[in-house]
């Protein structure tokens, strides 16, 4: 089946079996191996990419369902130099083996947008206050990304730094 997906700003037309997931299309057909396959069942977050700007588990997406959609992978976030989150993950040692890292960074990128849009979370005391990205909020919002090496302190520090910086820039 023919499907056209815009990946990192570039249109790709692929001829795919309907069984191919978005993750496999990215990795095996477009050779963008930054997105990782951990569980292949939506449980670990290693395959997280941005789909039309929102984070999703690409292992549970059928590629044929995304004709005309825009996908951004970890490779796309690095275009024109590493993104602030990518730099912060390096600076704060937010990884050990690095397998979960692309998913963590894609997820955090979209998560910060969700916070900016005022989306509440399970731990938000109120459903209609501006969100303060406390440690609890961050842990809850990033709970879909597991790190088997348990680098959570570094991951949290990296995301927190970028969130703070974003906030200062926004108020300047």
């Amino acid at each position: 089946m023919a499907v056209t997906i815009t990946v990192n700003g570039q249109d790709h037309t692929l001829d795919l079996d309907p069984r191919v997931t978005l993750l496999d299309a990215l990795r095996d057909h477009l050779h963008l191996t930054g997105s990782k396959k951990g569980c292949d069942h939506g449980q670990c977050g290693a395959c997280t990419v941005l789909l039309n700007g929102r984070r999703v588990n690409s292992c549970l997406c059928l590629a044929v369902m995304h004709d005309g959609d825009e996908v951004t992978t970890i490779e796309g976030l690095a275009e024109g130099g590493p993104s602030p989150l990518q730099e912060a993950f390096v600076a704060h040692d937010g990884m050990q083996c690095g397998y979960c890292t692309p998913g963590q960074i894609c997820s955090a990128t979209a998560m910060l947008d969700e916070v900016a849009a005022g989306w509440p979370s399970h731990v938000s005391a109120s459903l209609d206050c501006p969100v303060e990205l406390t440690h609890d909020e961050l842990a809850e919002r990033m709970s879909g990304n597991l790190c088997r090496c348990s680098c959570y302190p570094g991951i949290n520090a990296a995301i927190t730094e970028v969130a703070r910086r974003g906030k200062t820039e926004a108020t300047e």
Binding site: P18, R19, G42, G45, R54, L60, M111, G144
Partner: protein, 323 residues
């Protein structure tokens, strides 16, 4: 995964035509794709409902009409839901992860399959997956199974958080059959008890398309959802309670309670609601509510912990909702 044909119609007529030919609907795919990978579900034809224009949220008779393909994220963040149906936002936010909620849809969430490990283990007996093979859960490793509504053929839980809040809110599902006729179903009529046909989970006929969900004006402003699970986030409920309460002069005028993690379907018990109506809130009343709720509970060995847990969570939720 078994091979299948895929089709993405732009209108409902085409979707119905495909459904008449035996196709299976796919929305977010977060449950179906998972089950297809494991070959627990193996449809020959998939019809993608994601572009049928069923993704709006609008007013309906003072209440709200939610399109079938509205994502769980959009629904939880919708200002009207946050303001008027906070128990629904809370239940949605207590489920799955940020990534999954971005894909999961309202209809898909209602129709997600159980998380019973024996349903997932294709080598195990399971009447829900393979009718007539037996139930490996009974006598097997038991922890997160149903203590209400089970049968000797199946004790699998309905896993949804959203559906628990929807039950407390008296939601109705609007359905279009493959022949184009439409009808509305209360959740009590949508979900079936397992009995001796646990593979038949709802009253939907093959090809029935859920088009939207209708929420009436909520019965009360006091709304609470509490979920207890094995870890703080990203886990299914052991016990969850949704409460919608209206207070009047210090008394409970009306209450609607619904429960997750306890039943083979999102659980609601009219006797619990009736017991609370007109009463002054208090510990003795809340204890009584727990007794009534669990009067017919049959906890299979290993799930007994749910009895005190359910009582405690119910009490805490009622305390918060009537404070």
């Amino acid at each position: 995964m078994r091979p299948f044909d895929y089709q993405r119609p732009d209108d409902r007529d085409a979707a119905h035509a495909a459904a008449r030919d035996g196709a299976t609907f796919i929305a977010g795919g977060t449950n179906l794709v998972d089950l297809m990978k494991l070959e627990i579900m193996a449809p020959d034809r998939l019809v993608d409902v994601s572009r049928l224009g069923l993704d709006g949220i609008g007013d309906a008779d003072g209440g709200l009409r939610i399109g079938a393909t509205v994502t769980n994220s959009d629904l939880a963040a919708d200002p009207r839901v946050r303001r008027t149906y906070p128990v629904l936002s809370r239940a949605l936010l207590a489920g799955a992860s940020g990534q999954l909620r971005n894909k999961a849809t309202t209809a898909g969430n209602f129709l997600q399959r159980t998380r019973c490990p024996y349903f997932y283990d294709t080598d195990a007996a399971c009447n829900k997956r393979a009718p007539g093979t037996g139930c490996a859960a009974l006598g097997g490793e038991m922890r997160n199974h149903a203590i209400l509504g089970g049968s000797q053929h199946c004790v699998a839980l309905h896993p949804s958080d959203m559906a628990v809040a929807m039950r407390a809110l008296d939601a109705e599902v609007e359905v279009e059959a493959a022949d184009g006729t439409s009808r509305a179903l209360a959740l009590d009529d949508l979900y079936r008890l397992p009995g001796d046909t646990p593979h038949i989970e709802t009253s939907l006929a093959p090809g029935d398309l859920i088009t939207s969900v209708r929420l009436p004006v909520p019965l009360g402003e006091r709304q609470v959802y509490r979920k207890v699970r094995d870890r703080a986030s990203y886990a299914f409920a052991l016990v969850s309670v949704a409460a919608v309460v209206r207070m009047e002069g210090g008394r409970i005028a009306e209450a609607a309670l619904a429960f997750g993690g306890l039943g083979t379907r999102p659980w609601r018990d009219a006797e619990v609601d009736a017991l609370l109506a007109g009463e002054a809130p208090g510990e003795a009343l809340f204890d009584k509510a727990g007794e009534v709720l669990l009067r017919d509970a049959e906890p299979p060995e290993g799930t007994e912990f749910k009895l005190p847990l359910a009582r405690r969570v119910l009490k805490a939720v009622l305390t918060e909702a009537t404070r």
